[in-house]
């Protein structure tokens, strides 16, 4: 058993991280802090999940969101997708293993992966609406959010949702407000089987190795850790019994990266666009400076008068 995070002291404590620990801030430059915090991570062991949705309940309770009462369409997913009020979601997949002919019930807790290279943050046009702390947490700052939905386009995992109520983007915060005072995420706290554990990223990787070893000994040859390098690694990782085919877990992307279209839009296009417009203005100035205005002459007016029949009427 992974040692659970002890209950916090009842006295108020100063937050462990804040503005001074930002390593990225959307649409702004930040001076990276000289001292970086230890990277933290949440490890979701899919093989241990029993699908109880305690994590979803804990998330709703801690974040004080009020998801709508849904409808049943014949699957266990409830609600049917992430919403501005549901930051995490158990996605259920019934998968027949072609090797064993066994039905496997794959249950993946979906939510923000807290990428080291966050596509949402890169796409965001509003200064300070998305921030990344040196401990790895990617957080949305709602008072700076303008609700444009660019983060939705930037995210390789289809996670952020725009609230139709306050027109800002919502997603899992990794319980940054709990972690700041020494607690673990609400979902990890609530999980009855330790399918969700929380600690430093190194601890989590080490714990995952033990889990993978155990799974392999039970016949899951392809068990492995999901910490995709395409986004620089994530601060929410999965232990998968079939790590060779993550897509069977409700379309978990095999090699997620920030879309090259988003990279182009937020990279070359941004600078080239300003450059081209600046060039057009500069050309106008220079042309006028060198060539001067094109003026109508007296002769032109005289010609027009001749053409129209001479004498003024």
């Amino acid at each position: 058993m992974f040692p659970p995070i002890p209950n916090p002291a009842t006295k108020p404590v100063p937050p462990k991280f804040g503005e001074q620990d930002l390593i990225r801030r959307s649409a702004s430059r930040v001076t990276p802090p000289a001292q970086r915090q230890t990277e933290i991570a949440k490890l979701i062991d899919v093989s241990k999940c029993i699908g109880c949705k305690a994590c979803q309940s804990a998330c709703i309770e801690w974040n004080d969101t009020r998801p709508e009462i849904g409808v049943n369409t014949g699957v266990y997913d409830n609600p049917h997708d992430l919403t501005p009020n549901m930051f995490t979601l158990m996605r259920f997949t019934e998968w027949v293993n072609p090797e064993t002919e066994n039905l496997e019930w794959l249950i993946r807790k979906d939510g923000c992966m807290h990428c080291a290279d966050p596509g949402c943050l890169k796409a965001c046009p509003a200064p300070g609406a998305i921030v990344q702390y040196s401990n790895g947490i990617v957080d949305f700052v709602h008072q700076n959010c303008i609700g444009c939905g660019y983060c939705v386009k930037g995210c390789p995992f289809n996670i952020p949702r725009i609230s139709p109520v306050d027109h800002t983007a919502y997603k899992c915060t990794l319980c940054s407000d709990r972690i700041a005072v020494g607690q673990g995420p609400a979902c990890a706290k609530a999980c009855p089987t330790q399918a969700i554990v929380f600690g430093t990223k190194d601890e989590m990787k080490h714990w995952a190795d033990l889990r993978i070893e155990d799974l392999k000994s039970r016949g899951f040859q392809n068990a492995g850790l999901y910490d995709p390098p395409g986004v620089g690694g994530t601060h929410v990782m999965y232990v998968l019994h079939h790590a060779d085919q993550p897509e069977i877990y409700a379309n978990l992307p095999k090699n997620p990266t920030i879309s090259p279209i988003v990279e182009l839009w937020k990279g070359v296009a941004k600078y080239a666009g300003l450059g081209v417009m600046g060039f057009a203005v500069a050309f106008g100035f220079l042309h006028h400076l060198v060539m001067g205005p094109n003026r109508v002459t007296e002769a032109d007016e005289a010609n027009a008068e001749n053409l129209t029949g001479g004498n003024p009427s």
Binding site: G149, H167, H288, P293, E305
Partner: protein, 224 residues
């Protein structure tokens, strides 16, 4: 016989100097509504295009308001521009002399008006601006709806939205460049701006820049 580049209201008045009616009050109003929309769209769009221009959102009441209002101004521009398109498309059809004019683009830029062929109401450069803007307005409205997530989020998938947002920004840069050329040409070629403010130009201006059009007007070939 009719000339397709004569628009309703185009008329020559004898005098000293000769004056030529070029744009009706309706066309001018239509133009300025479009112009105001385009400028507001450029300012609000650029605010979201590059972080160093985000301060422009202050003009619209902040980021949330900029995000809200930009697409609506786009709708206004689309309908307004459609009005301009219906007014001007016929006079902007390609004419035989346009190729010769384009071949002499060097003389155009060096103010050697006398070496250019006589052109109708619009020269090839103006036609390029007209058709370029027409094309880009369509691209912008289509891609704009694809990323107007507040109302049309479910119309398109995220991969489609990514292509749409990139295309939208490139098309916006292109139309702003065309707009810069359009505004600069109006300043560079003196006597042009009165066409859109008062609706008329001098006979000398028409003789110098659109002689074929002036001749058609004088000889009474009414537009069809």
């Amino acid at each position: 016989m009719t000339a397709r580049d004569i628009e309703p209201g185009d008329m020559v008045h004898k005098g000293h100097p000769v004056t030529v009616d070029r744009y009706t009050a309706g066309a001018r109003l239509n133009h300025w509504v479009t112009a105001a929309s385009l400028i507001l769209l450029a300012l609000s769009g650029l605010a979201l295009f590059h972080p160093s221009l985000f301060f422009l959102t202050g003009l619209f009441g902040g980021g949330q308001w900029t995000r809200t209002i930009h697409p609506w101004i786009g709708v206004v521009l689309f309908f307004s521009f459609t009005g301009l398109f219906l007014r001007f498309w016929k006079a902007n059809l390609w004419a035989r002399e346009d190729k010769a004019w384009l071949n002499r683009i060097r003389d155009v830029l060096t103010n050697h008006e006398e070496r250019l062929p006589e052109v109708g109401k619009y020269n090839a450069g103006q036609k390029f601006i007209f058709w370029g803007m027409s094309f880009l307005v369509i691209v912008l409205i289509v891609t704009g709806f694809a990323i107007w997530d507040q109302y049309f989020n479910n119309l398109t998938s995220i991969p489609v939205k990514r292509v749409a947002v990139l295309t939208h920004s490139i098309a916006a840069v292109a139309i702003i460049c065309i707009w810069i050329v359009h505004v600069y040409a109006a300043i560079w070629v003196r006597g042009t701006i009165s066409a859109m403010t008062r609706g008329r130009v001098t006979g000398g201006w028409a003789w110098r820049h659109h002689r074929k059009w002036l001749r058609e007007l004088v000889s009474g070939k009414r537009g069809g």
